[in-house]
């Protein structure tokens, strides 16, 4: 069978300030009619740029060589006007960033009409009528009204549905989906993926899935290409590939799914954190004239108890209040309720009284890029807390402690005079962990510490955190939306939704026998349970 889309010997290079970046090095990919093909790889593997090149969407400093044929027609080297005969009608693409991929200044209906008018030859009025049908097709509720909405009036999931509707507007042969669900909450992810599969069944198009998520690949793709450093290292039917990966890199990727369980804590271990009935309320709107004042209960009466050496995983979707809870128990966020740390009630303490306690309760944030000052060396960042808590230390002694902390998080201590931008994402997260560990804390609140990292790097960070916990008897509050990671790290799980605890219990119990529908939905969406037959 001749493929619909055939990529041969594709090379992509970017001119950068540091010379030529060879992003894609001779890639061959075939997509047959109606087939779902996954292109898997970690960040920087060239998987997105391969498809961007095929669509003629490379950045201005990019050049492409090789061949991309759509039903035998060569696309590489076509002028934009000629390429536009295929783009948006035969070949379409949806992107990772649903929040910014729609024009904020135009109504949904106007944007949906664009490809219909340009390729389908519809009049503006016909296109708007068709736009309503398309919104219905992608199951946006109340399409007749939503067609007049602006993007900022829709949620992330709805915006991605609109993107899908735009891509499907002219009944394409190939839909390229570049990490279409990565920026969305897990349950929304699952619904978008179901929608894509359902639409594929009805419309018979081919889908190219660009993703780092092996769970998605395993469930959706007929065939899989594994990319690394701009090359395809392995390809084949998905089931066969997962069953018997030939290339060590593929094995490593499959193996990188967080595994293992944490050893339980002795019930006699001392309680480090005991929070009761924690409440955080935010006020929005202009309260000055008392007119449009809204109250949002971000955290609504939550209890949290963590023993030394224990990890409590707090899971939930964005907006569930899990991060706010993490900040509230450290008193980084005004809250009501009772929070005991070791033997002190934190709530009545003033800033000055809290300071000596702060060194024993630390926090690690999600964003390894934003949370480190770009103007300080890694060593300075790691030892900054010592300046506050052990001001008597000599410079030489601080440096020795920095080297020690680097070794503890398995970073080369000689790198402590370098700046954050010289480190990779995983290394930066290690620096952030070292910054917390140097103060010898008892409690660490970890707010999505692995979410911005590639799976293989995630696995290393998970192992590091586990190792540090056993060595120092740390209590962790592990906030995450990633159930696979939580399962590998936590003793107890707290499931949050809209500021309240929906369900809590042992890891085993939660995963084996979830009681609440919401918990079941979260687990199913994370592909941890066997796929539910529909």
């Amino acid at each position: 069978m001749t493929p619909v889309l055939s990529i041969r010997g594709l090379q992509v290079r970017f001119r950068t300030g540091d010379g030529i970046l060879h992003a894609v090095r001779g890639v061959d990919i075939d997509v047959a009619k109606g087939e779902t093909v996954a292109v898997v790889g970690e960040s920087g593997s060239g998987k997105s740029q391969t498809m961007m090149a095929a669509m003629g969407l490379l950045a201005a400093n990019g050049t492409v060589e090789g061949s991309v044929r759509y039903r035998g027609e060569e696309l590489i080297g076509l002028q934009p006007r000629a390429l536009n005969r295929y783009r948006g009608s035969k070949l379409t693409m949806i992107f990772q960033e649903p929040m910014t991929s729609l024009d904020p200044l135009y109504r949904i209906g106007d944007q949906l009409s664009l490809p219909l008018v340009a390729h389908g030859g519809l009049s503006k009025r016909q296109a708007l009528a068709r736009a309503v049908e398309l919104l219905e097709l992608v199951r946006v509720p109340d399409p007749a009204r939503r067609v007049n909405a602006y993007p900022h009036e829709l949620s992330g999931g709805q915006r991605q549905r609109v993107m899908i509707a735009m891509a499907l507007a002219n009944d394409p042969d190939v839909l390229i989906a570049d990490e279409p669900t990565t920026a969305l909450d897990v349950t929304v992810q699952a619904r978008i993926l179901d929608l894509l599969r359902d639409l594929q069944g009805r419309l018979g198009m081919s889908i190219v899935f660009i993703t780092h998520d092996l769970g998605v690949v395993r469930r959706f793709a007929d065939r899989t290409y594994v990319m690394r450093h701009g090359e395809v290292v392995e390809q084949g039917a998905t089931a066969a590939l997962f069953a018997a990966p030939a290339h060590p890199y593929t094995r490593m990727l499959i193996d990188a799914e967080p595994r293992g369980r944490k050893a339980p804590v002795a019930p006699s271990a001392p309680v480090v954190l005991d929070a009761r009935d924690v409440r955080v309320t935010f006020h929005t709107g202009s309260g000055l004239f008392g007119r449009t004042r809204h109250e949002i209960r971000a955290v609504d009466g939550v209890d949290l108890r963590v023993r030394a050496g224990e990890t409590v995983g707090v899971v939930g979707e964005s907006g569930s209040g899990k991060s706010t809870l993490g900040r509230a128990v450290l008193r980084l966020q005004e809250a009501s309720g009772l929070v005991r740390f070791e033997d002190r009630n934190l709530m009545p303490l003033e800033r000055g009284e809290l300071r000596p306690l702060r060194r024993r309760m630390q926090m690690v944030f999600q964003d390894p890029f934003g949370s480190l000052s770009p103007r300080m060396t890694a060593g300075e960042i790691v030892t900054e807390g010592l300046l506050v808590h052990e001001p008597a230390l000599s410079r030489r002694e601080r440096d020795r402690r920095a080297a020690q902390a680097f070794e503890e998080v398995r970073l080369d201590p000689s790198g402590r005079n370098r700046y954050p931008h010289e480190f990779s994402g995983g290394q930066r997260q290690r620096i952030a962990i070292a910054r917390a560990m140097i103060l010898a804390p008892k409690l660490v609140v970890l707010d999505e510490p692995t979410s911005a990292l590639d799976r293989s790097v995630q696995k290393e960070i998970v192992e590091l955190l586990r190792d540090l916990q056993t060595r120092h008897g740390l209590a962790y509050v592990f906030i995450s939306h990633d159930l696979a990671v939580v399962r590998a790290l936590a003793d107890e799980i707290v499931v949050m939704k809209s500021g309240r605890v929906v369900e809590r219990g042992d890891v085993e119990r939660i995963f084996e026998a979830p009681r609440e529908a919401y918990t079941r939905e979260l687990i199913a969406a994370a592909f941890l349970a066997a796929p539910v037959e529909t």
């Binding site: 669509m55 783009r87 009608s89 992107f95 024009d103 200044l105 109504r107 664009l114 490809p115 900022h152």
Partner: protein
């Protein structure tokens, strides 16, 4: 939207009042008065003049009289242009200045916008460098240099256009002053549009349009609508400045606008003229800032005034 506009207009009243008050006392602090000539007037004459123009009253009294007149829409008589009231001076000068300023603004937006857009689409090409170079030129060469050069070339050497004069607003008389007024604005608009277009063209939603294979004019329209926002906020105050006239351009081309009153009023201590121009500029600035805010909400649906 309408309540917002009304509220903004109402809130402009105290602002205007404050400006009037500050300006009134500030010009009185300046040494000298409207009748201090090089050869001092006779004491009797001076006394009469001061009485006629109510300058013999106490300062607070004069202030109250002025504000009272202003509320009735009376800007008072000019102290220097003895036979005219301020209102008459504005009535004759403002149409001239507004015609010139309005045309200059239009030229700046059309030419500057086009140049900036073209440059952004051909970033780092010869066209782009030419636009950036022209922008630097327009901003750095002062108008009192550009104006005489244009007068010499087009007025004297080629004799295509008149060197100066208003001539009842004849098109031929407008060309040179409008070009001189517009040149620096073209430069600013072109640079701003270029910068924000480059940003817009890199944005995700423009990538979406490209992936949909839409024709270039659609992509430009979408990119431009986002890119004009910063320019709109610049154009508010710029329009207020352009429409209230330019001293230099009006002097060089001998045009009867209101721009020269700024300087002449201040130098001659023509108190009412100074106050008149202050009120005029303040009103223009307030109105155009309001227009900018309204335009912002029209362009960007995320901006909503309640």
């Amino acid at each position: 939207m309408l309540p917002f506009i009304l509220r903004r207009l109402v809130s402009a009243i105290p602002t205007l009042f404050l400006i009037v008050t500050i300006a009134f006392f500030l010009i009185r602090v300046a040494p000298g008065g409207p009748f201090d000539l090089e050869q001092p007037l006779e004491a009797k004459v001076m006394e009469n003049l001061r009485r006629i123009y109510q300058l013999d009253r106490s300062l607070p009294e004069q202030y109250l009289l002025y504000v009272g007149a202003l509320l009735r829409g009376d800007f008072g008589p000019s102290f220097y242009f003895r036979d005219f009231t301020i209102a008459e001076l504005f009535a004759s000068g403002l149409p001239v200045s507004m015609t010139l300023g309005g045309l200059a603004l239009l030229v700046a937006v059309l030419i500057g916008g086009t140049l900036g857009t073209v440059a952004a689409f051909r970033q780092n090409s010869a066209v782009d460098y030419a636009v950036v170079g022209l922008g630097t030129f327009g901003l750095t060469i002062p108008n009192f240099v550009v104006a005489p050069v244009l007068q010499i070339v087009f007025g004297l050497m080629l004799a295509w256009l008149p060197v100066g004069g208003w001539n009842g607003g004849a098109v031929r008389s407008l060309v040179l002053p409008v070009i001189v007024l517009a040149l620096p604005q073209i430069a600013v608009v072109a640079r701003m549009i270029r910068a924000s277009m480059i940003e817009a063209l890199r944005s995700n939603h423009i990538r979406t349009l490209r992936s949909l294979g839409l024709p270039t004019h659609v992509v430009v329209r979408h990119a431009l609508r986002g890119a004009v926002l910063p320019v709109v906020s610049y154009l508010g105050p710029a329009a207020a400045a352009l429409l209230t006239g330019s001293v230099v351009v009006e002097s060089i081309f001998g045009l009867p606008g209101v721009g020269r009153y700024f300087v002449e009023g201040a130098l001659n201590r023509d108190y009412t003229l100074v106050m008149g121009t202050v009120v005029l500029v303040a009103v223009f600035v307030l109105v155009f800032n309001l227009l900018v805010d309204v335009l912002y909400a029209v362009i960007d649906p995320r901006v909503r005034y309640e």
